[in-house]
């Protein structure tokens, strides 16, 4: 693995960031940094995997990975939050050393430079992972699981990639689809619904359902076919619940008012998310050219705001791939400049009752940005800290994207207190 030799002297360390921002919890800052730098597992840590109990990367499909190794899908921390680590590391251009997950005396720890930092636990796999659908295919071909959430990726190809140069530059999903030589974009709804029914037999396991997938541009109007596919699926998986709205989340393209009304009226979906991805119009147009070309930054935002009128305050969120705004060559020139722009834009969105679920940008193999360097830990901590202040100020809390239903947006954890 090639790292920059002196990278530790070029940016503030975890301890130094904590000294500078003493109000943030250490366990949380570590979580952010683990997402930023990634992890590798020692053989002793891999030996702690019990394939009968634990969820491993080889045991499921990998929409965002070019490789699948026999490692735990992800980790649980002692504060009950989930630490998502099921992403590829760019081993040819890592820039920084990843953290190490090791086992000592039967316990598993996150370590750095030989120092024990935190005890962690491996995710346990749900019972449906060992069962098959009526067609004999494994259920986890159709749906996947986080510790408390059912994940459904309906369309595994994103049509913003149809035209060369229009795919989002940080995203490895469609490049991975092509690398797998996959041809079918979507699994049949009836088997997905069968898998969900089986998953829900496990008492206490699931508290939310996430439905997402790549964008589908076709239809009478832009995204109409995508909307039809989601309505068909949501009716199939949520229809049996005896409540008006089921704890569930759809992350989709930015639907217009007519489409949003249909989505709300024709399904029992509780929350809606459409990802703005990059908190700056100019950087968005460079990083997400397909979204910019077909919808545009201001219109994406407008549709996001319109969704609050349909789904209600607190039931609409937007995802951000935090850090991409600093990618080269067209990103902001400095972290200070990026911070100022991002916070200004974040306040505009959060003030409309829409919390931001921000991922730590990782330079995923397969993505156009695969050889980029993501920002410093200080940048992420400082920005998440301000997002949290704004979310508290405007009274918004995105439970669907939080520490236990999702786990991929560490900034959300701060809303726990």
């Amino acid at each position: 693995m090639t790292e920059e030799i002196n990278w530790r002297t070029q940016e503030l360390s975890l301890d130094e960031v904590l000294q500078k921002y003493p109000d943030v919890p250490r366990i949380w800052a570590l979580k952010v940094d683990v997402q930023r730098r990634g992890v590798v597992y020692t053989q002793a840590a891999k030996d702690m995997i019990n394939p009968a109990i634990h969820q491993v990367n080889t045991g499921t499909i990998a929409l965002f990975r070019t490789t699948q190794d026999y490692t735990p899908e992800s980790l649980i921390m002692r504060d009950g939050s989930y630490l998502i680590t099921n992403f590829d590391l760019n081993k040819n251009k890592a820039f920084r050393e990843p953290y190490v997950v090791d086992a000592i005396d039967g316990h598993i720890y996150i370590m750095d430079q030989g120092k024990v930092l935190e005890e962690v636990w491996y995710w346990e796999k749900p019972e449906f992972y060992d069962k098959t659908a009526s067609n004999g295919e494994p259920f986890n071909k159709y749906i996947q699981a986080r510790p408390q959430r059912i994940d459904i990726n309906l369309n595994q190809y994103c049509h913003f990639w149809d035209k060369p140069g229009e795919g989002c530059k940080y995203c490895p999903m469609t490049p991975c689809f092509k690398m797998r030589h996959q041809t079918e974009e979507r699994e049949e709804t009836k088997y997905i619904a069968e898998a969900v029914r089986e998953a829900l037999k496990q008492e206490g396991r699931f508290s939310a359902i996430l439905v997402t997938g790549g964008s589908i541009l076709s239809g009478e109007h832009l995204f109409d076919d995508e909307l039809d596919a989601y309505i068909d699926l949501l009716q199939a998986i949520l229809g049996d619940f005896q409540v008006e709205r089921v704890p569930s989340q759809l992350i989709s393209s930015a639907f217009d008012e007519r489409q949003l009304e249909r989505l709300y009226r024709e399904t029992k979906l509780m929350t809606y998310t459409t990802d703005i991805e990059v908190l700056n119009k100019e950087k968005f147009e460079w990083i997400c050219p397909g979204k910019a070309h077909h919808v545009g930054y201001e219109e994406w935002k407008r549709r996001l705001f319109a969704a609050v009128d349909v789904f209600g305050r607190g039931n609409v969120t937007s995802g951000v791939v935090l850090g991409t705004e600093l990618a080269s060559p067209n990103g902001f020139a400095s972290e200070d400049e990026a911070y100022r722009h991002v916070i200004e834009e974040a306040e505009d969105i959060i003030s409309h009752g829409i919390p931001l679920a921000a991922n730590v940008w990782r330079t995923a193999p397969g993505a156009i940005f695969q050889n980029q360097k993501n920002p410093s830990l200080e940048y992420f901590i400082k920005t998440y800290r301000e997002f949290d202040r704004l979310a508290h100020h405007y009274g918004v809390n995105p439970y669907t994207d939080d520490y236990r239903r999702c786990g991929a947006h560490p900034g959300m954890d701060l809303l726990r207190i």
């Binding site: 919890p25 649980i76 504060d79 989930y82 995710w123 510790p147 008492e203 207190i417």
Partner: protein, 153 residues
């Protein structure tokens, strides 16, 4: 530094007629106390209880405590006069997995209409015997100046 709970305290905790109160503080510094019937001592000697409501002030304060290494007070009272205060450090919140699911099912056998937010585990770091006669003797010995004169005339 962890302390071991005595047999007397373990029995008082295990007694279903005893009252167990968990007191926490949060980011705002405001104290919060709640009766917790599920308080028990686990195999590791740690205090354990269920937090039914994920959105509760108690859960919020326990997260604050585990993040910032704040202590939690657990008061155990068993009639007629047995009373202990255990100061404890939250060490783990279990929100998923087989252990969580087992407690979820057990909880439903008693309360079919409630959910389970988390199982909290706390390491005892200090125990105070709060029985009145013990506290009176302690005060008379340590602070002989703190008493009314008519009592010693």
């Amino acid at each position: 530094m962890a302390v071991e709970l005595s047999q007397n305290i373990r029995e008082a905790i295990a007694d279903s007629s005893s009252v167990k109160v968990v007191a926490t503080i949060g980011k705002d510094g405001v104290p919060h106390a709640v009766v917790k019937g599920s308080v028990s001592v686990n195999e590791q000697g740690n205090i354990e209880f269920l937090d039914i409501l994920e959105s509760s002030k108690n859960n919020q304060n326990l997260v604050y405590s585990i993040w910032y290494e704040k202590l939690v007070a657990i008061q155990v009272f068993r009639a007629p006069l047995e009373s202990y205060e255990i100061l404890a450090k939250p060490v783990r919140s279990i929100t998923a997995g087989k252990e969580f699911e087992e407690r979820y099912r057990q909880l439903h056998e008693v309360f079919p209409n409630v959910d389970l937010g988390a199982i909290w585990q706390l390491e005892p770091v200090e125990v105070r015997d709060e029985r009145l006669q013990v506290r009176v003797q302690e005060q008379e010995k340590t602070y002989p100046i703190l008493q009314h004169l008519d009592r010693i005339l």
